[in-house]
Symmetry: C2
Subunit: 367 residues, 2 copies
C-alpha cells in the first residue's frame, strides 16, 4: 500500500474508481503472467499431463506462508490466503483440474475443507463414505481425498485411523476448520426455552452445557445448523446451536458463546494422496508404528523422539489388525521425515518397533 | 503478459518460481491497495455502514465487463471473472458482509448462483422457500435474495413471478448457470440400461429423450446428480443424468450429450433487493404491466416498444391478483429504465396500461 496516496486531498468517487480500475488492470496482467508461468512449469514436466503431475503441496504451503508474512492489511490473513488459494487453483486448473474426493453430500463441512485447501477450480467428488474416499484415491479415480480425522470435542475419528492400517494412502496435507458453537434465540436468556435445534454432531458437542443449563429442553436434530437457526427464528420458545455468523445472518441473539464441551472446537481433516512430497519448511510427519505387546514397549518407541529433540503432537493407540498382541500407534511429530533429527530418532527406534510406516509428511495447516 | 520473457532461454524450475514469487508479491500489494481504496469509498459514504450501503451492482458489472474485454488468456474469461469477483467480494466484506438469502439447503444450484454473483466473502442465508427469500429481503434481514426465475427447459418459474405481484422487491441483477445434461454410464450405449438415476428436476428436463431412447428404463430420482453418477459408477445396467464434468469426476462414459428437451439448458436467477440502481452500460429492465382485458390491449402495450426501438427479451402473462378481468404482463426489455427510448415508450403506453411497475433495471448477466 502506497501510504502517501491516502494522505492526498480527498478524491472524488470517480477519481477513486479510476485508481481502482488502474489497479485492476495491473492485477489482471499479473494474474495472466502468473498463469503463463504455471503453464511453463507444466511444459517443463511434459506434455499431456494432468494437474496432479505438477501439483506441489509443499510449494503451495510455502507460497501461502509468504502471503501471511507479507500481509499488512487491511484484509485479514485468512481472506488474503483465500484469494491466493483461488489464484493458484485457477492457474493449476488450466490443464485437467485436480479431482478431490470427500465425504458428501455437497454443502458439508468436508466440502468446506476441500475448498479451503484446493480452491474452487478443483473438481470436488462427493462420495458416500470415508472408506470410499480411500478407495477412490487408491484406484486413481481421485487425485486426492479429504477425510475428517479429529474433532477436538470428540477426539480422533476412528474409522479414518483404521483405514490407514490397511490402505497405502499417504497424507499430503491437513486442513483445520474452527467452529465455536453458540446458543442462539429470539429470547435474551435460557429461561423459557423448551426446544434446542441443531445438527446431531453439534448437539453432541454441546451435550454437557445443555445438560447443565437446559436440562428439560428437548434437543431436536435437524439437517444442518443453518436449518436449526432458521427454525429458532420463528419460534418463541426455541433456541439453536450454531456459529456466531448464524446469529448475524438470521437475526438471533447470542445467549451464550463457546458452549461446546471443549472450547477449542476444531475439526481437523487430512488430505490423502498416493505419494510423499518434499519439505515445505514447516511440516508435520505422521507415523504408524506397530509394536509387540511387552512391558516398556511404548517407552522404547517414544524415548528416541525425546533424545533427538523431536516434538510429539499427537499419539493414539489402536489394536493392530496385523497380528495378535500387537498394538499400532498413530504418532504425529513436528518436522519432515527427511529432517536429520527425525531420521536419527527412527534409526534408534528400529529394533524396538515391529513395523514403522510413514503415513505422510506434510505442511502444517494454515490458519 | 510480457511476451519477451517467454522467449528467453529456458529457465530452471527455481528461476520460474522466483518469477512467480515476485509476481505474487506485486499482486498482493495491489490487492491490499485496492482494499484500502474500497475502505475509502466506504468512508466517503459515512461511518458505521454495512456493505449494503456502498455495494454498487452496476459498478461491479462494469468492472467485470472490463475484465472480460481485457482478457487475452491463458485463463478463460469465466475463471478470470471468478477471481475478480472474489477479490471484490473480499474488499467489500471488510465492513459487515452482504447477507444474501436463497432457497436452501446449502450445496444447491441456488447457492452456486449466489457464489457466482456475490463471491465467497458474502454471508449466504439458506431459506426454506422462495416466498421466504422475498419476505427476508423485504424485512431487511437479508440485503439481497437470489431466486430462480426461468429454466430454459421448463419456462418461467411461476411462484417467483407471482411473488412480484404482491411484493415490493426490486430486481438488482440476474445470474445464469448453464448446464448440459448428459447420459453417463459404465456402458458404451443405451443397450442394457435398466435404471437411470438423476435429480428429479434433471429427469424432468430430459423426459422426451428418455421416453424415446430408454422407454423401458426405470427413472430413479435421487438427492443430487452427483449422487446419481456415483450410483451409476457401481452398476452394470444403470446410467445417470449429469453434467459432462461428472463423467470426468466419476470416470463414466458419456453415452449422449445435451439430452435435455431444450438444448440451451440454462437456469436463470434474479437478484432481488429493495432499491433501484443506476445504469451499468449494458442493462435490462423488467416491467410488470397490468391491463384491462379488452380487444387489442396487448397490442397497445407492445407497439410503443417497437416504435421507440426497444427490444423485448421476454413476455409472460399472468392473471393479475388486483382486479377481475385484468391481466399482468411480465416484460423484460433491453436497456435501463433511465434510457430515453424506454422512457418515451412508457410515456406513449401510459393511457393504455392500468398500471406499470418497474420491477428492476439491472446489468445483463455475465457469461
Amino acid at each position: 500500500m502506497d501510504i502517501h496516496r491516502m494522505n492526498e486531498p480527498k478524491l472524488s468517487l470517480v477519481q477513486v474508481r479510476d485508481r481502482i480500475d488502474s489497479i485492476d488492470r495491473q492485477i489482471q496482467e499479473l494474474i495472466s503472467e502468473r498463469a503463463n508461468w504455471a503453464r511453463e512449469v507444466a511444459k517443463v514436466k511434459g506434455e499431456g499431463l494432468s494437474a496432479i503431475d505438477y501439483y506441489r503441496p509443499e510449494r503451495e504451503a510455502h507460497v501461502l506462508r509468504m502471503v501471511v508474512d507479507r500481509n499488512s492489511g487491511p484484509l485479514s490473513d485468512a481472506e488474503m490466503v483465500r484469494l491466493f488459494r483461488e489464484i493458484m487453483s485457477s492457474c493449476l486448473a488450466q490443464e485437467d483440474p485436480l479431482k478431490v474426493g470427500y465425504l458428501g453430500p455437497e454443502g458439508t463441512f468436508s466440502e468446506q475443507a476441500v475448498r479451503k485447501h484446493f480452491g474452487h477450480a478443483a473438481y470436488g467428488l462427493p462420495l458416500g463414505s470415508i472408506e470410499e474416499v480411500f478407495q477412490e484415491v487408491a484406484a486413481g479415480h481421485a487425485d486426492f481425498g479429504v477425510v475428517p480425522v479429529e474433532n477436538s470435542g470428540q477426539g480422533m475419528i476412528q474409522v479414518t485411523l483404521d483405514m490407514f492400517l490397511t490402505s497405502e494412502a499417504r497424507i499430503c496435507g491437513e486442513v483445520e476448520l474452527r467452529v465455536h458453537q453458540c446458543l442462539l434465540s429470539q429470547r435474551d436468556s435460557v429461561e423459557g426455552i423448551k426446544q434446542v435445534y441443531g445438527h446431531a454432531q453439534s448437539l453432541q458437542q454441546c451435550k454437557t452445557w445443555l445438560r447443565v443449563n437446559l436440562p428439560d429442553a428437548e434437543c431436536i436434530a435437524v439437517h444442518s445448523n443453518a436449518e436449526g437457526a432458521r427454525l429458532a427464528r420463528h419460534a418463541d420458545d426455541a433456541a439453536a446451536i450454531a456459529g456466531a455468523t448464524a446469529a448475524k445472518v438470521y437475526g438471533l441473539k447470542i445467549i451464550e458463546q463457546a458452549i461446546e464441551d471443549r472450547a477449542d472446537n476444531t475439526t481437523r481433516f487430512l488430505v490423502i494422496g498416493r505419494s510423499l512430497f518434499p519439505p515445505s519448511g514447516n511440516d508435520r510427519t505422521s507415523l504408524l508404528i506397530t509394536v509387540n505387546d511387552k512391558p516398556g514397549a511404548l517407552y522404547e518407541i517414544l524415548s528416541p523422539f525425546a533424545k533427538h529433540g523431536v516434538s510429539l503432537n499427537r499419539i493414539e493407540s489402536r489394536p493392530a489388525h496385523t497380528g495378535k498382541w500387537q498394538y499400532a500407534f498413530f504418532i504425529d511429530v513436528s518436522g519432515h521425515i527427511d529432517d536429520v533429527p527425525l531420521q536419527a530418532a527412527l534409526k534408534d527406534m528400529g529394533p524396538h518397533a515391529a513395523q514403522v510406516r510413514v503415513l505422510g509428511a506434510y505442511p502444517v495447516a494454515l490458519p
